[in-house]
Every structure is written in structure tokens, then in C-alpha cells.
């Protein structure tokens, strides 16, 4: 369970108005593994995820201190264009939000806005990413249909294909299976396991079982603080903190 660390989070404090949401969060996220951020609802895990690609910028009254290093860049304090940084990270949200356009254009969107517009270039790539997301076979005859006509499980895979299309090194996933049926969830989980050889995956979940199934590295949060973190084996079998033990036993929600 060794490897380089991809994301280094250092002393991050985040306030929503008067509410202290993230408290001195420090963590390292290993490269090309699945890191699961685990914890009960409202513990700040989604906020931590959104801090990594600075989607927190979209909320009013947010104050962030600290650093998040991705490569050499400190995402929180960089002078680089934030849109450029976000392109290195794909995002899957709790429920899929395809763009209001057809299936092909959903995947082509990210490529188009980074300036690659020719149909000849786009066509094989759209196919490639749809195949990567296990969706190609189901949609190859209806690429011009609206994305909203897909089932919710298919939509989530479309969002995955769309996220992969901008060629990120990191995939951020915010409870990506919570709106899906068990079968669609399994497809996404298996996909993540397949993709981790190429991508660093950070996934938020409140499902202990899911964490056990796919995590390589676990970060456990409670009330805005990181209680414990470590490689999955160690985390589940050699738990150190009392609070974590209680959570793993299912003693609170």
C-alpha cells in the first residue's frame, strides 16, 4: 500500500458564515488508488471534496484557509486560472446532472470548450470515453437523443464519460451511487476499481459496506474533523480511535 501522494491537504479550515465546517483538516491522498472519505451526514466530507476543485467558490460567505497541493500547485492559493485546474479533475455528483444537450454533445462538451471542435477529432473520442464508462453499447444508435432520456444509472455513466473526456488525473465522486439502483451502483463501483490504474479517485460515501468493498485508503471524518486515516486494511482491521471503532460497529447512524 505504498505509492506517491497525489493530493496533500494541509491545515484547511473552512467557514460557512459563522459555521466552522472544516477544522484543521490535514490529509494525504495517494496516487492511483481509491480514497474513500467516510463519515456520517453533515460531517463536512462533501465540502472537503468540493474544496479540492474549488466548487466552494460558488457559495456565498465561504472563508477558506490552508493549502491543498495537487502536484506543485496550491489549489486554494494559486494564481493559475481555476478553470484550468478544474479540467484536471472529473466530478461525479450525488445525482447525475447531464448537460441540457444530446448524448454526443454531453461528452464532446469538455473537449469543445478546450478548443477541439472538429467532428473528425471528436467522434472517435466520444466513442472511446463512452466505452470507458460502459455506456457505448447502449447508446451508440441514439447519440443524438437528449441526455435526459437516459435512465438515471445511464446518466451517471454518461457523467462519468463526460468527466473522463477532459482527460483528468483525478476523479472526484460525491456519493455517486446514492441515487442509483443496486445494479447500476455495482457497475459504477466496478468501473472505479478498473479505472484506478489510471486515475486517482476520491470518493465520498456514507456507506460502510461500499467503503469496505472498494477503498484502498480511508479518511474518516466526524463533525468537520478528520478522526482517523490510513490504508483500508489497517483502517478496518486495526482501528485506533474509539470513535472510529464505534462508527465501524454501526453504533451511530
Amino acid at each position: 500500500m505504498s505509492g506517491n501522494s497525489k493530493i496533500i491537504i494541509k491545515d484547511v479550515n473552512l467557514h460557512f458564515g459563522k459555521q466552522h465546517v472544516l477544522k484543521n483538516v490535514t490529509a494525504t491522498i495517494p496516487e492511483k488508488q481509491i480514497t474513500v472519505i467516510l463519515g456520517p451526514s453533515g460531517c463536512g466530507k462533501t465540502t472537503l471534496l468540493k474544496t479540492m476543485n474549488r466548487l466552494t467558490d460558488l457559495y456565498p460567505n465561504v472563508k477558506i484557509k490552508g493549502s491543498i497541493y495537487i502536484g506543485d500547485d496550491d489549489v486554494l492559493n494559486t494564481k493559475k486560472d481555476i478553470t484550468e485546474i478544474r479540467r484536471h479533475m472529473g466530478l461525479l455528483s450525488q445525482r447525475p446532472y447531464p448537460l441540457p444537450m444530446n448524448i454526443f454533445n454531453n461528452v464532446a462538451y469538455g473537449l469543445r470548450i478546450s478548443g477541439r471542435k472538429s467532428k473528425k477529432y471528436l467522434k472517435p473520442r466520444v466513442q472511446h470515453y463512452l466505452q470507458m464508462a460502459n455506456l457505448w453499447e447502449e447508446v451508440k444508435d441514439r447519440l443524438t437523443d437528449p441526455a435526459s432520456s437516459l435512465s438515471i444509472g445511464q446518466q451517471q455513466r454518461l457523467c462519468l464519460a463526460r468527466g473522463l473526456s477532459v482527460d483528468p488525473d483525478i476523479i472526484l465522486a460525491d456519493e455517486p451511487t446514492s441515487a442509483l439502483d443496486p445494479l447500476s451502483s455495482e457497475v459504477i463501483e466496478n468501473k472505479f476499481i478498473e479505472l484506478k490504474s489510471q486515475y486517482t479517485i476520491v470518493m465520498v460515501t456514507h456507506s460502510l459496506q461500499q467503503a469496505r468493498r472498494i477503498a484502498d485508503y480511508v479518511i474518516f471524518m466526524y463533525l468537520g474533523e478528520i478522526i482517523e486515516q490510513g490504508p483500508a486494511d489497517e483502517f478496518f482491521n486495526n482501528t485506533k480511535q474509539e470513535l472510529t471503532k464505534k462508527y465501524i460497529k454501526g453504533l451511530f447512524n
Partner: protein, 287 residues
């Protein structure tokens, strides 16, 4: 037991009130349409749509109101187009770029709502003052500009209400792909809301073509076809007004025919806009 009876009675009462008020609105609408059709249809003729007023038209002689129809279409289309060019970017800016500045946006909304409430005659008077200041005469251009001012708050606020319904998740999805604010605005928000925006534009067009008070001083009135932006231009609401105030019965009937034409134009535009919006609505992401 008693409680459920009371709740049922309450349900029944409010349902009754709703049915009553809906029927009243429906009834009034039908009444208006019926009186226009009943009095206007017999007076309607091909001549009326295709000819300009000949000498003595307003005394019941020959001619038509083609100049007012064309004038109204010019004024309303010009103003709607100008208002779209200003209004769509403004409402997108309010919802995308100023997304975090809640207080500022609330203040802007309040201002726009106040402007929406200002009577159109005030816009007319304002337009007139500006015209005098620049030494302009009443003209098609002055009318278009005044009507643009008049419908801008209507258009911006109607589009704004539609944009407010865009789910936050869609916004995050767009940004997470590395979109800029303008890409989020025009490629995501506008696409998501295209049918609502069409309705907002249509509403503004309806207000533009139907308003008499703001064109009274600014556009003026003539018996000629409008050929230049700098010339006075006839409009349908004023044509109705002038004919209606005539003591001659025949001319009065023609006022109803003119109203029928105006209603028909609005109906036609509504249908076209509906078709356009349905065509694009299929891509809308439903929540």
C-alpha cells in the same frame, strides 16, 4: 372523526374558490374575445389589411390600416430584439456571474420590479423628454427605443425567474468541466431554459405590440406606410384608439376589427413561439 370532517369541508371550500376564480377568468377572457369577434369580424375586410387609409377613412370612407399593422410589427419587433440583446445577457449575468452576491441581486430585482410597475405613459413621457433633448421628432426609432425601455424590466425579470430554477448541481457540473462563467451562461443555462426564455420574450412582445400610451408621444401617427426610422409611424393600439373615439358607427366597428387583427397577431406569435420552445425543450434536464 370530527377533525377529518372539518378538513374535508376546508378542502371542499378551497377547491370551490379555485374553481370559481378560474371560471371567472375564463369567462372574462371568452367575453372579451367574443365581443371583439362579434363586432369586429363583420367590419373586417381584405381591404382593411392590405390598404393604407385613403382620404376620409376616418369618416367611414375607403382604405385600411395596413400602415398601422406594419408599424406595430416594426415597433414591437425592433423593441423586442433590442430588449433581447440587452435583457438576456443581463439576466444571465445576475444569475451566473453575480451568483454569490445575493444582496446585490436582490436589490437589482427590487429595482426592476419597481420599473415593471411604472405605467407606460410615464415611459412615453420620459421618451418624449429625451426626444426633445436631442431635438428629435416623433419617429419609429423613438418609439422603438421607448418601448425597449418599457419592456426591458419585464423581459429581464421573466427570464430571471426562469434562470432561478436551474439546479445548483447543473451549475457545478458545468464548472467542474472547466467551463468559464460565459460558457456556463450561454451553453448550459440558456440551453436549459430556452423554453422559458422564449415565453419571456413572447410576453415582452405582447406588451410591446399592445401598448398605446408609450407610443402616443414618441411614435406619432401617420397615414403612410413606415419607410424610415426617422419618420412618424402608425401603430395598431393608436389606430384602435382613434377609430374608437369617432362618433361614426362604421368607424367604431372598424376599431373592433383592428382589435381583432391585433389579437390575431399576438395569437400567431404565441403559437410560433410555442412550437420553437417545444422543439428545444426536449434537452431540458428534469429534476
Amino acid at each position: 372523526m370530527k377533525k377529518s370532517k372539518l378538513r374535508n369541508a376546508e378542502e371542499l371550500f378551497f377547491r370551490g374558490v379555485m374553481i370559481l376564480s378560474s371560471s371567472v377568468i375564463g369567462f372574462v377572457l371568452v367575453l372579451i374575445l367574443w365581443s371583439i369577434v362579434k363586432r369586429g369580424f363583420p367590419a373586417l375586410s381584405w381591404e382593411m389589411i392590405t390598404q393604407t387609409p385613403k382620404g376620409g377613412f376616418y369618416f367611414g370612407k375607403e382604405g385600411g390600416i395596413a400602415n398601422a399593422i406594419v408599424g406595430s410589427l416594426y415597433v414591437a419587433s425592433g423593441a423586442t430584439l433590442l430588449a433581447m440583446i440587452i435583457g438576456i445577457p443581463v439576466s444571465l449575468y445576475m444569475n451566473v456571474n453575480l451568483h454569490k452576491r445575493k444582496k446585490l441581486v436582490t436589490a437589482i430585482r427590487f429595482l426592476l420590479d419597481v420599473m415593471w410597475g411604472i405605467p407606460s405613459i410615464v415611459y412615453g413621457a420620459f421618451g418624449f423628454t429625451i426626444m426633445i433633448f436631442f431635438g428629435m421628432h416623433s419617429s419609429l426609432l423613438a418609439g422603438i427605443l421607448t418601448i425597449t425601455l418599457f419592456i426591458l424590466p419585464i423581459m429581464i425579470r421573466s427570464i430571471d425567474e426562469v434562470l432561478l430554477s436551474v439546479p445548483k448541481g447543473l451549475m457545478e457540473a458545468s464548472y467542474s468541466l472547466g467551463s468559464t462563467e460565459s460558457e456556463t451562461s450561454y451553453k448550459v443555462f440558456l440551453k436549459q431554459c430556452i423554453s422559458g426564455v422564449t415565453t419571456a420574450v413572447l410576453l415582452s412582445f405582447g406588451r410591446a405590440i399592445g401598448d398605446a400610451a408609450s407610443v402616443l408621444f414618441t411614435t406619432g401617427y401617420t397615414d403612410h406606410m413606415p419607410t424610415s426610422l426617422m419618420q412618424p409611424t402608425a401603430t395598431l393600439p393608436l389606430a384602435i384608439f382613434f377609430q374608437m373615439s369617432s362618433p361614426i358607427a362604421e368607424v367604431k366597428e372598424r376599431a373592433y376589427a383592428s382589435a381583432l387583427i391585433l389579437t390575431f397577431i399576438i395569437l400567431l406569435i404565441s403559437i410560433i413561439a410555442r412550437i420553437i420552445s417545444i422543439r428545444y425543450q426536449k434537452h431540458k434536464i428534469k429534476i
